[in-house]
Each structure stands twice: as C-alpha cells, then as structure tokens.
Amino acid sequence: MGIEFLVRARRVTLALTVLAALAGAVYGGLAFGLAIALGSLWSVGNVLFLEAFARLLVAGRLGRTPAMRDVAAVLGGLPALLLGGWALLAGGLPLLAVTLGFWILFAVVVLKGLGLALARSLDFATGRSGESPRAAVRRPLPSRRTQGLTGWALVALLAGGMVLWATAAPKPQAPAEHPAAAAPAGEHAAEGHAADAAPGAAEGHAAGGGHASGHPEGVPEMPTIPGVLAKLLPHAAWAQAFFVWENLFYALLAGVFLIVAVRWAFARPKLVPDRPQALVELIVEGAHDFLTGTFGPEMARYVPFVGSLFFYILTMNWMGMVPFLKAPTSSLNTTAAMAVVVFLYVQYTAIRHQGLFGYLHHMAGSPRDAIGWAVAPVLLPIELMGELIKPVSLAARLFGNIFGEDLLIAVFIGIGAAIMAWQPAPVGFPIHVLFMFLGLIMSAVQALVFSLLTAVYLYMALPHGHDEEHHGAGSGAQPAHA
C-alpha cells in the first residue's frame, strides 16, 4: 500500500463526486450540488499536492533529479489551494455541502482501508494466505530517541494548547473576584499581618472558583504559584485561567518531573550502575517483586502500569508539602481522571483475556443453563454496578484523604499564625509541622492503597488456571500467561 492506493482512492472519489454532485443538484439545488463538487475537488487537490511533495522527497532521498511537474505542483499548489479554500469559504456556497464534498475522499480512504484489512483477514482465516493480518500492522518500535522526542513534542503541544486557551479564554468570573475577596486566614484570626508574608500561610479562596475548577468554596488552601500570580495580576486573563487550571498544571509537572528524573538516571546505563541508576533499578525490581510475589507471576505484565501509578500519585501527594506547590490529587478531577484510566484498563484487560463474548458472558452472570439465562437480565445491572463501584471508590478515597490532609495543614498554619499574631514579625508558630510528617506518611499510604486496589482489580480481571467461569466462555480467550 503506497501512492498507488491514493491514486485508486482518488479515482473512486472523482466517480463518487460526480454522483454526489448530481444527486445534490437534483435534491438540494444547483448551488448545493456545485458546493459538493468543489469541496471534493479541493480535497482531491490537497491529495495531489501531497503526492507531488512525497515524490519530491523520495527523489531527493534516492539522489534522482526531481520531475519538473512535481516541482511546479508543489510551488504552485500551495497558494492555489489556499486561494481555492478561501474562495470556497467566502463564495457564499452552502458550507454543509462543501464539508460533505470534502469528506468524500476521507470516507473512500477509510472504507478502502477497511476492505483491504477484511480481505486479508479472510485470506488468513481460509488458509489462502499465511501472513497474519496482525503481523502486517505490527511494526518494530521506533528508537528511544524518536519515542522521547515524540513524547516531549506531545507535552509541548499540550502546554502550548493550554497557554493558547488561557490567553484566548474569556475572563473567568469567580477567580477574577478571588484576589479582592480572598483574605488570609490569619487576618480573620488576628490583626491581619501574621499570614501575609509567610510562604506557608493558609489562604481562603472565599470567592470560590467552583468545584469544577478544583477550588471548593470557602475552604482554606495553601498559596500556590498560580494563586499568587492571579492575586498579583487580577486583570490578566491568562493568570486567572492559569489559576483555574492549576491542578492540571501541577499534575503535568509531576509527570514531567518523573520522566526527567528517570531519563537522567538512565542517561548512560552502565553494567555496574551508579547511584541514581541503582536507585531506579532497585525501585523497579522492588515493584516487580512486590506485585508478582503478592498476586502471582501473571501480574508481571502490569508492573509498569501499577508501578507508574504508584510513583505518580506519590509525587503528586508529596507536592502538597512543598511551599507554593499543590497536591493535584486534592482535586476530584485529577483522581477521577486516574480512576477512569484504571477502569478502562481493567475492562480492556478483561476483554483481552476472556475475549469479547467471554466478557459479555461474564457480565451476564456466566449463565450455563436455562435458569442461569433466565436470571441474566437481573444479574446484568448488578455486574455493571459492580464495575462502576471500582473507579468511584478509587477516586473518592484518594481525593477525600489528600484533600482532608491538605485542609488540616492549611487550618493549622492559620492557627499557628493566629497564635503569633501578638508580635509584629510576619511569622507563625509551626504547629503544623507534626501534621506535615503525618501527611508524608499518609500520602505514601494513599498512593499504596490506590495502586494496591488497582492491582486487585486487575487480578480479578485475569482468568484463573482452573476458573470454570471463564472456561470456554469466549471464543477468543487467551491463556493468562500469554
């Protein structure tokens, strides 16, 4: 499959365009039919441009002289396509018809691709071909450098998108009021100076950003970098948006920190490891031994997932102990997102091991006789609810514990500031230190509990060696140790 695939797709598209334009002109009017035809031709023009561009690249790589036709198509094609696109949008033609025409080529490519895949599957299934369709799409992974560059490009894209969104977003109502309305907790407690300059001072977000933004109303929070920026720049839309999205920012920061730390430790892997490499190897080996020793050797496959989850949550939890940072896990949005990921992965694992029919059979209560099938409609909602319980319990437990822990520390910082409010220096009594130590331990315990529950849910999704419930239930069932 290569350029010839595109050529064939283009021919089919042109034939379909004629039919669609005629049908459009008959049923929707002349302008409608013309718009379909022009939209489709514009999309075909894009493909022609890409083909010429690809031929130029190939010629350059092989050291051949490029064809003048391709050079002319690339140089003249881009402005022509831009002008054509502008004319289509500004020409007053029905936009729905233009869009319909534009999608004809995509529909043809997708349908042709599906047809080819089905034909190959059929050939393999009937023995006409020895090449498995799965092998045709299985490619070796790109180099680590390419993977790393792709990962960083994605992170940069996400960050750039966030910045663009933040600068383009309309001014959020609630956080805009926040700097004026928010008052340090110490001010309420005493004369108002104690908590102002202390980096760990508790701060009340009285003008709640709402639960959706992760800033519950009237709950004291530690000051954070986005919070301080929002207070210093009350009229900057980007600062207010940054404050609203601070949980996402800190979650991203935790991920980037972990990636950079591990990449740094393994920058030059040695046979006799140095300290950072030895530490990472110890951690990975410990996670592997823990999961396989506790739940069996079949869990070795899930060590990367569960281990990453543990260290990611631990990093996020501990971020709440650092001044001007925040634990993103104290927002239900973050914990719910992780719980959804776990839920989807557990379902994928169950389908992968039991097969689709085995999974559906299990969801119907694994009926084996007429009575079993009769009660299947009753058991189905119970099984569905049973699966829904898992992510909700994961998200609510982690959010509740970390949120409560951060709240406790913030409240005690406020009390410490109030105790020292009799003297003019901006310091507070460090009454919260004890709770910070407790918080360090509790954060680790909560990360462990989340990971442990994830491991148990995965363990429940795996078939057992002599589990009758999964035996032969699904046609596509695979052995657990595959």
Partner: protein, 84 residues
C-alpha cells in the same frame, strides 16, 4: 533478582484483598444511591433511588463473593513444581 518472602507477600496480599472488600462494601450502596438519585432527578421519578441502592448492595455482595471465590481457588491451587 531478590525473592519476596512468602509470609511478607501473604500479608500484603491479605491487606490488599481486605481493603478491596471494605471498599466495595462501602462504595457499592453509595454509588447505587448516587446513580439512583441522579436518575430520579432526570426522569422525575421517586423510586429509582431505592432500586439502585438495592442494586448497589447486591453489586457489592456479588463482587465480594467473586473475590472470595477467586481467593479460595488460588489457595486450592497446587504449588508449582520445584525446578530440578
């Protein structure tokens, strides 16, 4: 590779399973109630909360039963043959 002591692993396993049982038992009715309440508000009914609450209890019970059966089967599984 370092071997995990079996007693140590057994303790962690018990802790994980115990936590799961507790979590499922508590979360089942809560999730059922929340879904039922949401459905009642959406559909304007007043009985779906109770039905979903019951389903939540039943779902928690069924998940615990499945987990307990799984544990029992794991315990009954003969140990792997030692390598010669």
């Amino acid at each position: 590779m370092a071997k995990v002591p079996s007693e140590w692993a057994e303790n962690w396993r018990t802790l994980g399973l115990g936590l799961t049982l507790l979590t499922l038992l508590v979360a089942g009715p809560i999730v059922g109630y929340l879904i039922g309440d949401w459905l009642d508000r959406k559909l304007g009914t007043d009985w779906l909360t109770w039905v979903c609450l019951l389903i939540g209890f039943a779902a928690a019970g069924r998940q615990i039963y499945l987990l307990a059966r799984r544990i029992q089967r794991d315990l009954d599984r003969p140990p792997p043959d030692p390598k010669p």
